[in-house]
């Protein structure tokens, strides 16, 4: 059954079987057929309105300083140019920050990073606009930039104040520890590399209103910022997105600038304006995953049991705060991963640098924190001479303990999940086989790692945990569904539609999902933090409950039965009469009956996550409703002469509670694993000594291809309902599985350390390119000599 059934199935047929496509079952993505035909419409695919202009940003060619001359006459004179603006032409606010301040629509005299947008131009064609920006004459006075985390730390350059989470007495714990290890690792960022680059299409309307079609995870924020920039009330702006060609966090805040610029032009010229970043502009102009400089000192007993940890994280925020405060917090929340660090201190610096402002990317700081936990655990294992998995087992949280930010450990079945994976993937035998292989193989070495994932679910800014939905039922029984969540490929529209079909017990083709738009469901949160189906699924369910109650109340009144005698089943409403006889009325017929009896068939639904709280001053609370769990065992082979490697096998077991759609969830797990693996292997985000992004194209920034996936790749969902009261006891799936890629990184380091008989902890920063692997191998060889 697909979403787009061309023929209407007779109701009699729909009665003979359970509804198709209900929640919990595999169902193809609602747009799958359109995807494969290329007919799924992205913003750039929409037919252009006559008179549409194309906008391009003019970029700075220094990293830090002040503009002393801005001569745009050449730009104005370029063929096809219709309008050119600077920050002075913006009618309203020029600050488009999501949470703090400092993110500007266009540079305001000061340059804060190489490539910062200084002006923008619209022309009749995209190519004309691209050529026109090259004609600008701009002079600057260069100031001394801060281009690295280390430099920012040295100069106390931060976008937000440093946070510290403390548990117990770390100094005494480390002093009293049997052993201590200290080190640092540099974790590089990651380019989102959504296949569809940033795009907005602004269409002017009456009375200063404007409609912005925007590829964004956060239409409500785009709406609000466009209103502020244009200096009009929010109700004059509509932001809409049917689908994105990938988001991954990169379209949470980073879509707004282009939407605002397009809107400014559209309002000035009263013409439709499209602003699409081409790949090179997208890579230079938009933020990425933060680099982190992680330092640690960890104390442990002779068995490898952690006694205390002193951890310092420093994130590479770029020139402004954007979302860096929450991102750095999330890194701090996840440095424990599955393990009790006991007495510990976790410090998180938010480093301000003269680079593009880094932003959300799947995991939102969590991965950069979590990888440190696994790095430290491997260090401890080699120090005490044990299998790393055994050391991990010694350190799992126990039920009833709490984290370093005070969240109680509940429903902690991660150890059982790991146990299951360990058995299913034959970990012990393969460990022995690999050690034997490494003894006889001179040049090729193999590595193995089994690492867990424990990821906290909820926005850590508590008020964001809310969502709305809107449902109409029409008189033929067809259902129109709208909610605040956006579709970026993750299958949210499919899952929420399944929830609605499930609630009314109708076939999925009765439900039509419509584009996310701010005039249907207002004041929404970003589709982020893996929260899409948790929040919007519940909101849609609440709307269904409201409508069902109206329908049942109507049936009670109309058929003169009690509420218990009315049920939704197989696309029908089944009414049991006092004689026990069942009356099956098709959903369409029943809905129409309700309509002619003047029952409202439209309602909103709302949901807010219960039971969470966090005090950012005390750094304590229960920021997460629950944790998503998983574990991966990865096996790799490295070439010690070149540092090249391949992933031989990966076994993943992941916990999504009761899956809303196993096919989509497996897809999320696999895709996230490969994305996480790419982050830690071939994707190297590099800046040169002037703060210019050197890996600014698909030719220099290498995301995995099909041949890079593990030769043997087993992915399974852990079969256990979530304890929390989530939608059908499912668990969020967007971000957590990204961190399965850490197993590959640990396996690579395991293979490298075999060169020194597992006696030595080689330095390995990320990504583990062949170059870094070779350097680590040589470090081991020298240590072994």
């Amino acid at each position: 059954m697909s979403f787009t059934s061309s023929k209407v199935t007779p109701w009699e047929q729909r009665r003979q079987r359970p509804p198709k496509g209900k929640s919990g079952k595999e169902l193809a993505h609602e747009s799958a057929e359109k995807h494969v035909l290329g007919t799924a419409v992205y913003i750039d695919d929409m037919p252009e309105i006559a008179g549409t202009l194309h906008a391009v940003a003019g970029k700075s060619t220094i990293n830090c300083g002040v503009i002393t001359k801005l001569d745009l006459s050449g730009v104005w004179a370029s063929p096809g140019v219709v309008d050119v603006i600077t920050v002075n032409d913006v009618p309203g606010d020029i600050d488009i920050s999501p949470a703090f301040t400092g993110d500007l629509i266009l540079a305001d005299g000061r340059i804060e990073f190489y490539g910062q947008a200084i002006f923008a131009v619209v022309a009749e064609t995209f190519e004309q606009a691209k050529r026109a920006v090259q004609a600008a004459v701009i002079e600057y006075t260069q100031e001394e930039p801060i281009l690295t985390v280390k430099e920012a730390l040295k100069r106390d350059s931060f976008v937000n104040p440093t946070h510290t989470m403390t548990e117990g007495d770390v100094e005494s714990a480390l002093q009293g520890a049997d052993n201590t290890l200290a080190g640092e690792m540099y974790v590089r960022g990651q380019e989102q590399f959504y296949l569809e680059t940033q795009i907005s299409y602004a269409i002017p309307g009456e009375d200063g209103s404007i409609k912005v079609l925007c590829s964004t995870q956060h239409p409500s924020e785009v709406q609000k910022l466009v209103a502020e920039v244009l200096d009009v009330p929010v109700n004059h702006v509509q932001a809409e997105v049917r689908r994105m060609g990938g988001g991954f966090g990169g379209k949470e805040t980073q879509a707004a600038q282009w939407a605002c610029l397009a809107a400014v032009f559209a309002a000035r010229l009263n013409r439709p304006v499209k602003m699409r970043l081409d790949r090179q502009d997208d890579m230079v102009l938009t933020g990425k995953r933060h680099d982190f400089l992680n330092r640690y000192k960890i104390g442990f007993d002779n068995d490898g049991r952690i006694q205390g940890a002193d951890i310092e994280l420093a994130s590479f925020c770029g020139y402004s705060a954007d979302l860096s405060d929450s991102i750095t917090d999330r890194a701090m929340f996840h440095v424990d991963n599955a393990y009790n660090l006991h007495d510990c201190r976790v410090i998180g610096h938010r480093c301000r640098t003269n680079t593009v402002s880094n932003t959300a990317f799947r995991g939102f700081g969590g991965p950069q924190g979590m990888i440190l936990a696994e790095y430290m655990l491997d260090d401890i294992a080699r120090k005490v001479g044990k299998d790393p998995l055994d050391v991990r087992k010694l350190n799992y949280y126990q039920e009833g303990e709490h984290t370093h930010y005070g969240q109680p450990i509940e429903d902690y079945y991660l150890p059982e999940l790991i146990e299951t994976l360990e058995k299913n993937c034959d970990y012990r035998q393969r460990r022995a086989d690999i050690e034997a292989f490494n003894k006889t193989s001179q040049w090729k070495k193999r590595g193995l790692a089994l690492t867990p994932v424990r990821f906290g679910i909820s926005f850590t800014t508590t008020f964001l945990n809310q969502a709305g939905a809107l449902i109409h039922i029409y008189t033929d029984g067809s259902i129109h569904l709208n909610h605040g969540g956006t579709e970026m490929g993750q299958g949210l529209y499919t899952k929420v539609a399944q929830v609605v079909a499930n609630e009314f017990a109708v076939d999925i083709d009765m439900v039509r999902v419509s584009a996310t738009t701010t005039d249907k469901v207002p004041n929404t949160s970003a589709t982020a933090a893996s929260s899409g189906s948790d929040l919007n699924g519940k909101a849609a369910q609440n709307a269904c409950i409201t409508l069902k109650k109206r329908l049942v109340d109507f049936a009670v009144d109309y058929f003169k039965v009690s509420a218990d005698d009315v049920r939704f089943e197989n696309n029908h409403i089944v009414v049991t009469g006092s004689d026990g006889k069942e009356d099956w009325v098709s959903f369409a017929e029943f809905v129409n009956l309700a309509y002619v009896n003047r029952v409202s068939l439209s309602t909103t639904g709302f949901y807010k996550t219960p039971d969470i709280h966090y005090d950012p001053k005390a750094e304590r609370g229960k920021p997460f409703l629950y944790y998503a769990f998983g574990a991966t065992c990865a096996e790799v082979e490295i070439d010690t002469l070149t540092g090249e490697y391949k992933i031989l096998r990966a076994d993943i077991l992941h916990d999504v509670g009761n899956s809303l759609n196993p096919a989509i969830d497996i897809g999320q797990v696999e895709g996230a694993f490969v994305q996480g693996t790419g982050w830690l292997t071939s994707e190297e985000l590099l800046w040169d000594d002037q703060g210019r992004l050197s890996s600014a194209s698909a030719a220099t920034y290498k995301i995995p291809t099909s041949v890079d996936i593990p030769e043997v790749f087993n992915v399974a969902l852990y079969d256990r309902p979530a304890a929390a009261d989530t939608i059908y006891h499912s668990k969020a799936v967007g971000e957590p599985p990204l961190m399965h890629g850490i197993a590959v990184f640990c396996a690579l380091r395991d293979a490298v350390s075999s060169v020194a008989g597992y006696q030595f902890n080689p330095q390995l920063d990320t990504p583990a390119t062949p170059e870094r692997i070779l350097n680590a191998v040589m470090e081991c060889q020298q240590a072994g000599e």
Binding site: T4, A28, H29, S31, A32, E33, K34, H35, V36, L37, G38, T39, Y42, D44, D45, P47, E127, K130, R131, Q134, Q192, F193, Y194, L195, E196, T197, R243, G245, G246, F248, D278, R279, Q280, G489, Q490, D639, L641, T642, G643, E644, K646, G667, E670, G671, S682, L686, A698, T700, K702, P704, T705, S706, V707, D708, I709, F713, V715, P770, E771, L774
Partner: protein, 480 residues
Amino acid sequence: MIRFNLNGRWIESTDIDPACTILKYLRTEVGQTDVKEGCAAGDCGACTVMLGEMTEQGIEYRTLNACIALMANVHNRYLLTPSGIGRAGDLHPAQQAMVDTHGSQCGFCTPGFIMSMANLYQNACINEKQALTDDEIHAALSGNLCRCTGYRPIVDAAKKMAELPKVDVSKISTRAGVQTFDPDTQTLSPQPLQYKDGHRLFMPYTEAQLKALLKAYPDARLWAGGTDIGLEVTQRFSQFDTIICVNRIPELAASQDTGNQLWLGACVTFSQAENELAESFPSFAQLLHRIGSRQIRNMGTLGGNIANASPIGDTPPVFLALDAMLEIDGINGRREVPANTFYLGYKKTVMQPGEYLRGIRVNKLSAEETLTTFKISKRYDDDISAVMFALYLKVNNGTIDSARLACGGMAATPLIGEKTSAALTGKPFTMETFKQAADCIEQDYQPISDVRATDKYRIQVTKNLLTKAFIELNQKGDAA
């Protein structure tokens, strides 16, 4: 005038700018938005289309990146796009399999994958053959990036499509009939194939025509595969007064086996070369699998790879190691130059205005001779080399009679390592010899640090590759 078939419909147009790419034409001129732009640089494959050419065996299709391929590519050919090979409720097997395996998520890369898969299906599945190997699938998909799925369901779809009911897309291409063309209608004609706003593109079909054009336009930009010209258009927004397309000249697009020599036309594509080098130079053919992607290999040519004089082209080091001869022709007549004298400096060669590279001549290897190639890059497929390593050896009775090492990515041009090669020559074929020769690498090469690797790594890995070459040759016993 350009004449071509789009999804079964014949189109003639006199109004297309020579620098207009297929993608731009499809999306902005005819509203064919089923083909997507992901990078506009031939790196992501979202814009993949199938291009068919009528042969005696019927239409032969290949994939290419519409984003960097100029419209002249489609002249007299058959173009297919995702919405042309299937429709809702009647999907092509590649499309149906992709739906069945949940192979799309955001869907933006999907149309490109579908075209790569459909092309593979057309070439390998409609003629009885059933199961595709993983290697065939990965080779077909090497130029398609997906950021959502992690590829597993896509690879599964490629396996599954072979089992679905057969569909032959050439029937779609030919549904408005087959038109035949006589290329000689343009004999010596000065008429450009395309002309707009002072920009012109010529498509000669003979070398005589080409020479006449070079005489008239000695500064014309020659276009063989167009993978670099395409980038200049889409990345730098360059414009060209005159482009001459040389890849329709049969002599330049063919190769000849003369027994102990191989002559490769300059316009032989990497894909063609994969087959044509497979027997005589298996190591070279293997390397070709890792140059660009399938789409790029279907466009890019050996001659282009040599003549654009990039220091990081993958085939020039191999031709240097093989001591190839390069045949140059043009308005001043024909000449041959050894590959090792071809490069004068960064992006500079001995070629003069009005000249073109005609072909490459290589001696086949005797039983005593070997060629070893290694490509080092961050990613296995579709990446540019940090180091390209090619080593020719002639070993007789345990002694190295002759050695020639050439590397890419190690200097401003592809470069022979003279001292290293000398250090190997005349020495016994032992690990010791290779280790000693490795000490010469730093004298031969002073590479730079860039986004692909540091200078230190480039040196270190090149040294290690000598060891690796010895190990591999020794294991094979070829050179012992």
